[in-house]
């Protein structure tokens, strides 16, 4: 079945042994749309995000990107090739950055484009400079990641993902590991991407950010999508009891 949406997840289910972490999830994201996934820890939101680029493959169901099925059932060798190919279109940003500590910022950004797209060193350097300018860190190009603050690391990680010119960006709690005063600089970069109409799926604990940037918010709990809608509805006037409970607890914890 070909899909019309840009990113489409159909009947997704996932279990780790006997533990079922995702049940029958359906989700479609249009090109340029920005979707936030919120929910308590253990709700399966990160697992769902990691299923999109096959880091945690689904047990059953389908994931599609621009009419191409990502989780195709193939013999191991072909599967490996297919996955390496489709992942180039899907940028991912992790909670703990996962920058390569033995490479400079430049090396982190240029590695994949050089190896996978065969571009010249000069072009790769220009690409790194372009992406670093975008995240405001051009002056750090020859530093090693250990010399950067958390916020700077995450901005470099975003630049690294963008250098592959992905069609969609996945953010897995990109600001959860940051000191509070460093969150804003990363949020700024994400907002800028939103203005450029990058398709984004964002797993987050930050309701304010989700409300201000996202077109749509999905609330997950217990491995299912409980409720979804535009932030104005889901945050101001949630329909489901579970959503209301979660938001109330969350707001109480953040003290506002």
């Amino acid at each position: 079945m070909r899909s019309s949406a840009f990113v489409e997840i159909k009947n997704a289910a996932k279990s780790f042994g006997t533990l079922q972490v995702l049940r029958d999830i359906n989700l479609s994201v249009e090109r340029g749309q920005i979707v936030a996934i919120i929910g308590p820890s253990g709700s399966g939101k990160s697992t769902l995000l990691r299923a999109i680029n096959e880091l945690d493959p689904l047990t059953s169901g389908e994931v599609w990107l621009e009419g191409v099925q990502i989780n195709r059932q193939l013999p191991p060798r072909q599967y490996e090739k297919h996955v390496n190919q489709v992942r180039q279109n899907i940028g991912m940003v992790f909670q703990h950055f996962n920058l390569f500590p033995h490479l400079t910022v430049r090396g982190n950004i240029t590695l994949a484009p050089r190896m996978l797209k065969g571009i010249s060193e000069a072009d790769a350097n220009a690409l790194a400079e372009e992406q670093l300018t975008k995240v405001g860190l051009l002056e750090k190009i020859d530093e090693y990641p250990s010399r950067l603050s958390g916020g700077q690391k995450q901005r470099v990680a975003i630049a690294r993902a963008l250098a592959m010119k992905p069609k969609v960006m996945l953010f897995d709690e990109a600001t959860s590991a940051l000191d509070p005063e460093l969150v804003e600089e990363v949020n700024q970069v994400m907002k800028q991407l939103a203005e450029e109409h990058m398709t984004m799926i964002i797993v987050t604990h930050e309701m304010d950010f989700a409300a201000s940037v996202c077109d749509r918010v999905i609330f997950m709990d217990g491995g299912v999508v409980v409720e979804e809608g535009p932030p104005s509805v889901l945050f101001k006037n949630p329909q489901e009891e579970r959503t209301r409970n979660f938001l109330r607890k969350h707001l109480a914890r953040n003290g506002d």
Binding site: N53, N84, M92, F94, N98, M115, Y144, R160, A161, M164
Partner: protein
């Protein structure tokens, strides 16, 4: 007959040549043990069982038998099946493989200790398993293993004296030959010990520089 170190300078050239051979063997075997160690480690962790199993046996043989015996086997034993290696080459292969097995054990645990996020970060960009291993995992594993591997290199330098038994004119054999001409064992063994110590100092200084350079990028 008292001690008389004045005979030593006359054999300076012999000792110096011995030193040069010792350095050459240590370097050759060191490089072989480094790359061999990486290859053995990757094979031990990722190769299919029909490669892994014989390699396990090979590793067990090299760790469980005397290095001296291994050198005899490579130099004298292999001739019988038509492989006639020069003593110098046999020495490098014997020492190199012996220490490659030890290095491999270090590198294996170091590969497994690399953060899983590194693997995910690379794979997410589209890098293949092999590319991730070569570009991301192994360089980090090797960085982490330089200090303990340095200890193996120093052990290798000292064990290089064993290749004297297959006739390589390295430092220990050079000292012995000088002794057989002068009958001054104490003086020449002390002189040889001093030479080993000098090489050791240089090796340690080199390793320290390497560690500092790696530390600078952390």
């Amino acid at each position: 007959m008292g001690l008389d170190f004045s005979v030593v300078p006359g054999y300076f050239g012999v000792l110096l040549q011995g030193m040069a051979w010792t350095v050459a063997i240590t370097l050759g075997a060191g490089i072989l043990s480094f790359f061999g160690g990486i290859i053995f480690a990757v094979a031990a962790l990722y190769a299919p069982w029909f490669i892994r199993l014989p390699m396990r046996l090979f590793a067990w043989l090299f760790m469980g038998t005397p290095l001296l015996l291994q050198l005899f086997l490579i130099y004298f034993g292999l001739i019988q099946i038509g492989i006639d290696l020069p003593a110098f080459v046999a020495g490098i292969i014997g020492l190199g493989l012996h220490f490659a097995v030890y290095n491999s054990e270090l590198i294996q645990s170091s590969i497994l200790a690399v953060d899983k996020g590194q693997y995910e970060g690379a794979r997410t960009l589209g890098l293949s398993r092999g590319q991730t291993l070569r570009q991301i995992i192994i360089p980090q594993a090797v960085h982490a293993v330089i200090p303990p591997m340095g200890n193996n290199m120093i052990a290798l330098l000292k064990d290089s004296a064993l290749v004297s038994v297959i006739g390589v004119m390295e430092l220990t054999l050079a000292a012995q030959q000088s002794i057989s001409r002068t009958y001054r064992p104490f003086e020449f063994y002390i002189a040889a010990a001093f030479c080993y110590y000098i090489i050791n100092l240089a090796l340690e200084a080199g390793l320290r520089r390497l560690e500092r350079r790696i530390a600078a990028s952390r």
